[in-house]
């Protein structure tokens, strides 16, 4: 591999909890790897297990669900 592997993580975040936490990480300028691709949902309960499979099928390397 000539290019270093940069993982792409499909990330579901609950609007009220994890999405807010991610915002507050930003406000505090906490640095973390630019690997996530975020989809906001109104609640992590919206995340149908099938979404996880769809993510892997669509080219993501892994899936993170933050509730």
């Amino acid at each position: 591999m000539s290019k270093q592997f940069k993982p792409k993580i499909l990330t579901f975040l609950c609007n009220w909890c994890a999405y807010a936490a991610a915002d507050s990480a930003g406000v505090s300028r906490l640095q973390y790897p630019p690997t996530t691709r975020v989809i906001r949902t109104m609640c992590s309960a919206r995340v149908d297990p099938v979404f996880v499979v769809k993510g892997l099928k669509s080219g993501f390397d892994s899936v993170f669900v933050g509730g």
Partner: protein
């Protein structure tokens, strides 16, 4: 989500491709930590080989869409927290075992349906492709036949061949 983890394991994809974490709105640092850890974990696993896992992934999706599994996921609390009309309550451990077994069965059925999409196969051929004992394949195939999801397509010499049928 436990079921998804289990399915990722049986399918060989591995549960470490997924992570479920609870973060409250005040826990920015925790969120950053989780993402850093999970990025490292994903990096270690390497790129997800979609081509290699096309078939198992399709089977995982089929399993998750199966009404049996969706029912069992949805009804967990009803079954473990409350009594049913016969005043029976399932112990959480018993329920977990039941769920695991159901997931495995449904996954195997889904695999059979997926491999049959490519054309008629004998039980032995299916067993080789899916890497399961012939006996397991027979059991699951039988269930699929009963539900009209698979059927006999003909004979190759003396060997019966099966095809998938649209449900």
């Amino acid at each position: 989500m436990e079921i998804v983890e289990q399915l990722l394991d049986i399918s060989g994809i591995g549960r470490n491709r997924m992570q479920l974490r609870w973060v409250s709105s005040a826990e920015g640092p925790l969120f950053a930590d989780y993402i850093t850890q999970f990025s490292d974990q994903t990096k270690e696993l390497g790129p997800f080989d979609l081509k290699k896992f096309m078939l198992p992934l399709a089977a995982v999706e089929r399993t998750l869409m199966s009404s049996r599994i969706r029912w069992l996921i949805g009804i967990t609390r009803e079954l473990t927290d409350f009594e049913n009309v016969y005043h029976e309550k399932l112990e959480e451990e018993d329920y977990k075992r039941l769920l695991q077994q159901a997931t495995e069965e449904e996954y195997h059925k889904a695999m059979i349906v997926e491999v049959l999409r490519e054309g008629p196969l004998s039980v032995k051929e299916m067993a080789e492709k899916i890497r399961l004992p012939v006996y397991t394949i027979s059991l699951r195939l039988n269930e699929l036949e009963r539900h009209g999801q698979a059927g006999l397509s003909g004979y190759d010499g003396g060997t019966p061949k099966f095809i998938g049928l649209a449900a």
